[in-house]
Symmetry: C2
Subunit: 108 residues, 2 copies
C-alpha cells in the first residue's frame, strides 16, 4: 500500500500545524473543552493577533473549528485523538532521557 506524495504533503501540513509550543499549549487546553480566543491569549501570553494567527493555522489544517457567540469566538478540537498523539511524543522524550542517563552513567 504505497502512499502518494500528495498524501504525505497533506499529512505534513497537519503535523506542521501542531509543531509549535504555543499551539501545543492551546491544543492541550482545548482538550478540556472549547475556549475563547481571549482565554487562549491569556494562557499563552502572546499578543492576541499572534494567537489568532496560530488558531487560523490550526483551523486551516482541520485541527480546530470555531463558533462565534456574540463578541467572542470559541475554538474547539475537531478530532480529539490529537491528544493521544502526545502520548507517543512523551515516549520519545522518555527514550531520550533514558539514553542520556546511560551516557552520563558510563562517563561517571
Amino acid at each position: 500500500m504505497s502512499t502518494s506524495k500528495l498524501e504525505y504533503e497533506m499529512k505534513a501540513k497537519i503535523i506542521k500545524a501542531l509543531a509549535h509550543p504555543s499551539r501545543l499549549m492551546m491544543v492541550d487546553a482545548l482538550s478540556e473543552g472549547e475556549k475563547c480566543v481571549c482565554e487562549l491569549t491569556e494562557l499563552v501570553g502572546a499578543d492576541i493577533s499572534t494567537v489568532s494567527k496560530h488558531l487560523s493555522v490550526m483551523k486551516n489544517a482541520g485541527i480546530v473549528e470555531d463558533r462565534k457567540a456574540g463578541l467572542q469566538v470559541f475554538y474547539r478540537l475537531r478530532v480529539p485523538c490529537i491528544i493521544k498523539f502526545f502520548g507517543c511524543i512523551e515516549a520519545v522524550m522518555r527514550e531520550e532521557a533514558k539514553t542520556k542517563e546511560q551516557i552520563i552513567s558510563s562517563v561517571g
Copy 2:
C-alpha cells in the same frame, strides 16, 4: 497537572522533526525495518545530502537512531509508536473530507 513551557518546546521540536513530507515518507519506510541512507535517498528522490540532513534532524529529535555497517549507515525508528500517530492524522484528513463533501452537496 500543568505542563511547563520547556516541555511544550521539547514536544514541539519532536513534532517539527516529523513535519515534512520527505521525513514522513522515510518514517513510513522505516516502520518496515531499518534502511540505509542510500535506500531512503532513492525512495524520496532528493539529493543524498538533503536526505542525510533530514535524517540528522530526526536523529537529533530522538525519532530515529543509526548504526554504521561498513560503508553504509542504517537508520531505524527509535520509538515505533510514531506510526500510530499517523492514524490520528488520517482521522483529521477524513473529517476534512467529510466537511468538504457537505459543503459541496449543500451547494449542489
